[in-house]
């Protein structure tokens, strides 16, 4: 399928186009992630970039801000072909990328951060009052009501984000690229952000805006570009573009292709896991049941507490209240080891930070969770470990150049398969998978869904926590939607659809209210 960006390129280039990418392609190693994508950004517009996870949005964004260099294709800035300098040095040209994980020095003040690397100084001595004055102006102009002397660590995430924007503005940014800025914001904070974005747009800043939340895209952007599987699909004015149409172009395929047939659940199956009145610092009174062989989806916005419920169950987060019953045996787990021994494993969404030892090979990673099984009185049985790896590579179709490859050199999809293989080594009866397909390609996604379905068919109980609605809908027998640390609703059968989930997640449907 090559319906690449030729249409766009042939367009007469409007004089107000500030930053333009022409036929960008990018491969990481042998894995291509972008195929000849074109994108242009005008002064004074908000141009949204949407697409499913793994569609290539981040890559495009990073190329356009110089963090990655394209494998082929060109970038024009102010009408001139440029090679953007790496590592954020494009900021000097006025192109600023605001990362999702913000880039602020936590222990320094707002002023110090805003002037970091270009402090106002006279003969090497900092002119603090001049910087203070300037920061007061900037904060005022972005409508942020905080003291310039506040330490970043004392700010909320939304405020930190505003500081990032203030920092960008103080550098006379002409192009602002924002990676899912609203993902971690509350509704009220999003409103403030949008007011700022609108203000910047009126000042003539060109804004590239990546988001998964389509109604926000529809609200704030002037144009929308859709990517799918690394390919350019369309660029349209936002006005007149329906949300359904956006979603259709993003997905672009029948969902049934992607998801395996899921066997009916046995309503009389044993209850594998029962949670009653679970509370932690951020979770309030969560209760649910999980039956053998059931796939239970957990949906809700980021920050609604989905992950924390299961981290609490597995002894990773302290529980305040509540009881847990596994296969009729009640008992809280103080450590992951206890949970593992009771047959519950948790597969983290943070593959690189909490899942795999990146500097180690596949074998060390594979057996780590279940290592006691591979040892007799502390002594490791290396043969047994090797055999386990050979088995896992076959069973989960892990593709590695050589068996000694380090985890960090594997593709996201193979890392995820390895992680799945790792938790399965513990022979669990209950598997909790957090964001099973985050950042992996469609082919591997499909494989992972099939693994999940096959495990369920074998009688393993599975919880799928996911921010991708099609995924939750496509694979779950039942879906629990969380909101603000509570269960907002439970969906079964035909009620499992995007509208219902969104209504519960956004608080439009309230099944029950808790104080």
């Amino acid at each position: 399928m090559d319906r690449g960006g030729s249409m766009l390129v042939e367009n007469p280039i409007a004089s107000d186009v500030l930053l333009r990418a022409e036929s960008l392609s990018k491969s990481f190693g042998t894995v291509p992630v972008l195929f000849s994508v074109s994108f242009d950004l005008k002064a004074g517009e908000v141009h949204a970039l949407i697409g499913e996870n793994g569609a290539g949005k981040s890559t495009l964004m990073k190329i356009m801000s110089g963090f990655h260099s394209p494998t082929s294709g060109r970038i024009f800035y102010n009408g001139e072909a440029v090679t953007l300098p790496p590592n954020g040095q494009a900021e000097a040209l006025g192109i600023v990328l605001i990362h999702q994980e913000l880039n602020l020095a936590e222990q320094m003040t707002v002023t110090e951060n805003i002037f970091l690397g270009r402090e106002i100084a006279k003969n090497g001595i900092l002119d603090k009052s001049a910087m203070h004055k300037r920061v007061v102006q900037i904060l005022d102009s972005v409508g942020l009501d905080i003291s310039p002397d506040t330490r970043i660590s004392q700010l909320s995430i939304a405020e930190k984000q505003m500081v990032e924007i203030a920092k960008a503005m103080s550098r006379n940014a002409r192009v602002l690229i924002m990676d899912e800025p609203t993902a971690v914001l509350t509704e009220a904070e999003t409103r403030i952000l949008f007011t700022q974005v609108d203000r910047l747009r009126k000042q003539g800043v060109a804004i590239m805006f990546v988001s998964h939340k389509l109604h926000e895209v529809s609200e704030i952007s002037d144009r929308v570009t859709i990517l799918r599987d690394g390919q350019w699909i369309a660029t349209r004015p936002t006005k007149g573009l329906a949300l359904d149409e956006m979603a259709r172009m993003m997905v672009g395929r029948e969902l049934s292709d992607l998801y395996p047939p899921i066997a009916e659940t046995d309503i009389d199956a044993d209850v594998a896991l029962r949670v009653d009145g679970l509370s932690t610092q951020n979770i309030h009174n969560v209760s649910f049941e999980l039956r053998s062989g059931e796939i239970l989806g957990f949906s809700g916005l980021v920050g609604s507490g989905r992950t924390e419920v299961f981290e609490a169950i597995c002894g990773l987060v302290p529980m305040r209240n509540g009881s847990i019953t596994t296969f009729g045996q009640s008992g809280r787990f103080a450590t992951v080891a206890q949970a593992r021994n009771a047959g519950i494993v948790y597969l983290t969404k943070d593959r690189k930070g909490k899942g795999l030892l990146l500097q180690e090979g596949m074998q060390t990673n594979l057996t780590l969770l279940a290592l006691p099984q591979f040892a007799k009185r502390l002594m490791l049985n290396k043969k047994q470990e090797e055999a386990a790896l050979a088995r896992a590579v076959r069973r989960f179709d892990i593709r590695a150049r050589d068996p000694n490859v380090l985890a960090k050199d594997m593709s996201g999809g193979n890392q995820q398969k390895l992680l799945l293989a790792k938790v399965m080594e513990a022979n669990p009866k209950i598997v909790i998978i957090d964001e099973p397909t985050r950042g992996i390609d469609v082919g591997t996604k499909q494989q992972i869904y099939h693994f999940i379905a096959a495990l369920a068919a074998e009688g393993v109980s599975i919880v799928v926590i996911s921010s991708e609605m099609p995924e939750v809908i496509g694979i779950s027998h039942r879906v629990i939607v969380m909101r603000d640390g509570q269960i907002a609703g439970t969906l079964t059968g035909d009620a499992i659809n995007e509208t219902q989930i969104v209504r519960y997640a956004a608080g439009l449907n309230e099944e029950k209210m808790h104080a």
């Binding site: 030892l357 040892a375 290396k382």
Partner: protein
């Protein structure tokens, strides 16, 4: 240089894994250098001497390898050795009146040293894990405490082992079994058990995992605090063992006993290829690192080329060069 030709690898795989073989190559080069400067360098007497002197730092460094691999650091080992030596001497001296000057007194002295070492390590470990204080700070604190304790016990002077008991204890340092001095035997035993523990047990794997990424370790059902605490206990045991064979050498302890041992131990670990920030530990490398450090001093003793007072300079240079060689990207290009 007398070594040319030989190790030019053939075209196919020109990549020498410096991380792996660097320390061994360095030691070999040093030995060749030593021998070319003075043939007596490779005499049996000198080799024995060299190994015996390496034993103290080597044994302590094996413990340090575990601590560092699991992402910690222990600065207190030198002071700990001095404090243990002090207590041990006081204890044995006072036991002479009760138990006489026999082996029993020495055995009790040595046993109490081992217990003290384990307890001191346990204290370091619990303060870092349960107390949630950085290892650097905890062990900097205990370093000061242990050091001042030995000064206090010795009343600012020197604690000496009674002459009556020295005769009984002396062989532990000076005697040989099968031509190999006892300290070297201890060193070998510690090295072998350390290697086994690091490379063949769940404990070693867990140390690596924790040093590599504590979050991953925690999510992989590893009891991070317990394993980390154990690394400090092992370190304490190693320090105690080194002290037990060190005390009969001079028969005394003072505030200057074991000064800078912590740095030598850490240097041996780093020269051996273990990564200072954790996650990659090599016992074999540590042994070689300890040998390299002692060899440098030994070579300087043999030659007038460089003043013996510059021993520290040479050791410092070797540490920096060793780490530089390990970090540099040697992929593809072969070195000349």
């Amino acid at each position: 240089m007398p070594d040319t030709a030989q190790t030019q690898p053939a075209s196919n795989k020109p990549k020498i894994d410096l991380k792996m073989y660097g320390p061994a190559i360095a030691l070999a080069l040093l030995c060749i250098l030593g021998f070319s400067l003075n043939t007596a360098f490779l005499s049996e007497g000198n080799i024995t001497n060299l190994l015996t002197r390496s034993a103290f730092i080597g044994i302590i460094a094996v413990g340090a390898t575990f601590v560092i691999t699991a992402g910690g650091i222990d600065l207190s080992v030198g002071s700990m050795a001095a404090a243990i030596a002090g207590v041990m001497i006081i204890l044995m001296n006072s036991l002479i009146d009760v138990l006489g000057t026999g082996t029993l007194t020495v055995v009790i002295g040595a046993t109490s040293a081992i217990i003290l070492g384990a307890l001191a390590g346990l204290a370091n470990g619990l303060l870092t894990t349960k107390g949630k204080i950085e290892a650097f700070i905890v062990t900097l604190g205990t370093m000061g405490i242990f050091r001042s304790l030995v000064t206090y016990f010795a009343d600012g002077g020197t604690l000496s082992l009674s002459f009556e008991i020295r005769g009984t204890y002396r062989p532990v340092y000076y005697e040989s079994i099968l031509g190999v001095p006892i300290p070297v035997w201890v060193f070998i035993m510690v090295a072998i058990s350390g290697w086994f523990l690091m490379n063949r047990t769940t404990f070693g794997r867990y140390c690596t995992a924790i040093g590599s990424n504590e979050h991953v370790a925690q999510y992989s059902a590893i009891n991070v605090n317990k394993i980390k605490t154990w690394t400090y206990v092992i370190q304490g045991l190693c320090v105690a063992l080194a002290t037990v064979i060190y005390v009969p050498r001079l028969g005394s302890a003072s505030s200057s006993t074991g000064v800078l041992w912590e740095l030598e131990a850490i240097a041996a670990v780093i020269i051996g290829g273990t990564v200072l920030k954790g996650g990659y530990g090599r016992i074999g490398g540590t042994i070689l690192g300890a040998l390299i450090l002692t060899t440098i001093g030994n070579i300087l003793n043999f030659t007038d080329l460089v003043s013996n007072y510059l021993n520290g300079t040479m050791q410092g240079l070797i540490i920096i060069v060793a780490v530089w060689l390990q970090r540099a990207d040697w992929g593809g290009k072969s070195k000349t």
